[in-house]
Symmetry: C2
Subunit: 426 residues, 2 copies
Amino acid sequence: MRTEVVAIGTELLLGQIVDTNSSYIGEQLALTGLDSHFQTKVGDNLDRIVSVLELALDRSDAVICCGGLGPTQDDLTREAIARVMGVPLEADEQMEERILEMFAGRGRRMPMNNLRQAQRPVGAHFIEQLPGTAPGLVCPVSRSDGADGTVDKVVYAVPGVPWEMKEMLSGTILPDLQRRAGITSVIVSRTLRTWGESESGLAELLSGRIDHLDGTGNPTLAFLASGIEGLKVRLTAKGADATAANALLDEEEAEVRALLGPLVFGVDGDTMESVVLELLDRSGMTLAVAESLTGGLIGARICSVPGASSSFLGGVVSYSADVKRELLGVPDGPVVTEAAAIHMAVGAARLLGADVGIAATGVAGPDPAEGLDPGTVCLAVVVGDTADDGRSIATTVRLPGGRNQVRDFSVITLLGMLRRTLIELG
Amino acid sequence: MRTEVVAIGTELLLGQIVDTNSSYIGEQLALTGLDSHFQTKVGDNLDRIVSVLELALDRSDAVICCGGLGPTQDDLTREAIARVMGVPLEADEQMEERILEMFAGRGRRMPMNNLRQAQRPVGAHFIEQLPGTAPGLVCPVSRSDGADGTVDKVVYAVPGVPWEMKEMLSGTILPDLQRRAGITSVIVSRTLRTWGESESGLAELLSGRIDHLDGTGNPTLAFLASGIEGLKVRLTAKGADATAANALLDEEEAEVRALLGPLVFGVDGDTMESVVLELLDRSGMTLAVAESLTGGLIGARICSVPGASSSFLGGVVSYSADVKRELLGVPDGPVVTEAAAIHMAVGAARLLGADVGIAATGVAGPDPAEGLDPGTVCLAVVVGDTADDGRSIATTVRLPGGRNQVRDFSVITLLGMLRRTLIELG
């Protein structure tokens, strides 16, 4: 079962929009166990869309079209598919009513050209999911098998709006493709998030497992780089049903975790900040941040998690040296030092009344400062009252990249430090 | 002159990497005045790459291949082009030496398979720019013109590493394509950044200009949506040389600015934060921020501009209500009000000793707070001592979208308010 993706829209060719939809669809096809060998982008031109669809149907069994289902004259996907099927378009009264009701329900007047969206090639049917006002299509196509017979192929069409596309893909297209491909097994994947080790380092730690899995072929293990957010270890398992596949994943996850230990900070949707907030919640401690070169990025990232307010109190952005001294109590002298970072963390915790303080101070660049090269960053984590039985750790790191990469790298490195500290404290 | 782009790499089909290169190349081709009707992604498979190249050469005059020029067995672009040209690959001794020297210069041992990169199809030549270790290629191809003659076409190959691709594109490929297409004129574009008006609103304000330009055809004007960052108005002019094209742009920019007034906040690389920092610098005033729902995003965005320290002192992230009250002096009672926002701005300016304070407080969601729906945000700008001749303004906005969009929208809206205030103060 060979599939391919056709993204439709002149704005994609002009680079006004980056085509992330095809990437997403390609990933989902692969995870479903379906081959896809080509992806094509074509503009809003009927002849060219038809030529791309004809070619795709020659070399593949199923084609997923993305975009060009809107209400305007530029939206030509419906016409192109009808032409490839050799049938006319017809208006679907039920769908017309559904679209009219949708507008009425939102208290909006419907422009009449929206009824174009209720048209479908004769013989095609609509995708059940309708998250927006553009219905998707399932269009059966017959093609010669090269001998005397014919072979059944299919063209799907989904809107270019990502969440609409995703709902139709998972709700209708992938299950339909699995059925057509006779895939009765279920493929499930799980991603372990790691931080603190290079790809070759992880490969070394996991070499025994990788050899073993190469032998069995199920589950499989792959590394996915995700920039400064660490490396992902993706486990994919095939089973007779979801329960069986998940049991394989559970087993393999335990093996991998035993080898990687605390390098694994989360699973799937977990982020470093969500994990840190969970650890804080569990310990009942509150957090304050002191930021210099990051300018607020640490706080912003923590607050991106809903419910952050249960343990995150806030922080001080001490961008100027005066603010570091007067507000946070950093002594006179250089401010890119581990001592200054600890003073900042202590100062923020004191000022905001938090149990834990973290701080970042450093040289983001492009110019050096205090005789230090850009990328030199001091990070500190302080827990409790250091005069009593509290604990403070600080480190100096040399981070690569330009100004914004150094800042982003500082944030994840500091959150990683905080995570390890909270784990060690139990 | 029809061009098209072929992106090569299995990781692109699997969605492990989003293909931003093709978008970039498509944009540059359009800005150079060259048509491009198709973009294709294909995996690391020799037969399939060859089939895509053959098709591209059938329907276009020039093909730009991106990716697959590395040193490993997976990197098949050189082989595929040689096959399409009907010639063998040959090693280029000069290039071998250049690559060896490059590794030696970086003090690194060269893996022998890197010499694969010094191969080129007989008749092809290397692109002069060599920012990495993967040389690019210019490969002349002859194709039948459908009658008795032949027509000269060309295949370019560049690495998938974005900065390497960009250097080769601007340094060799675009000028070569212009020469082949007989384009002697120069096309220059300029983007005006706007904030505070919808696309239909801008179109109405500019309707006279749009009609006029539709008549002359040079320069042209286009709207580009850039999400919550406002709308871009892109002016593109064609001239005998850059001076002539820029003169047309200067003239048109003045016309557009006269109609849009302060809606235009910058040009090309300007951002709202860079513009605000410039206005602060010019007035000699310093800035402090107080952030609640944005959690540090405002400060982080301001600090992303190199040199921000000349007027940005820092701020307070007052995520918890206690911090708002105790540190910033917000009175008891609800904290999502315009009065609370003004208190926060005054408090931050006082605490950090700044001339200007700005503040954001609101409900990011997903849940309501203080009886207010998610998206309800209060923003304040305070300049100078409000007890004296200072000035304070506050507003309540209802912002659309989920948690993070509400936060991002709050940042740009507040910075836009600050900009207008600084301009009014002169």
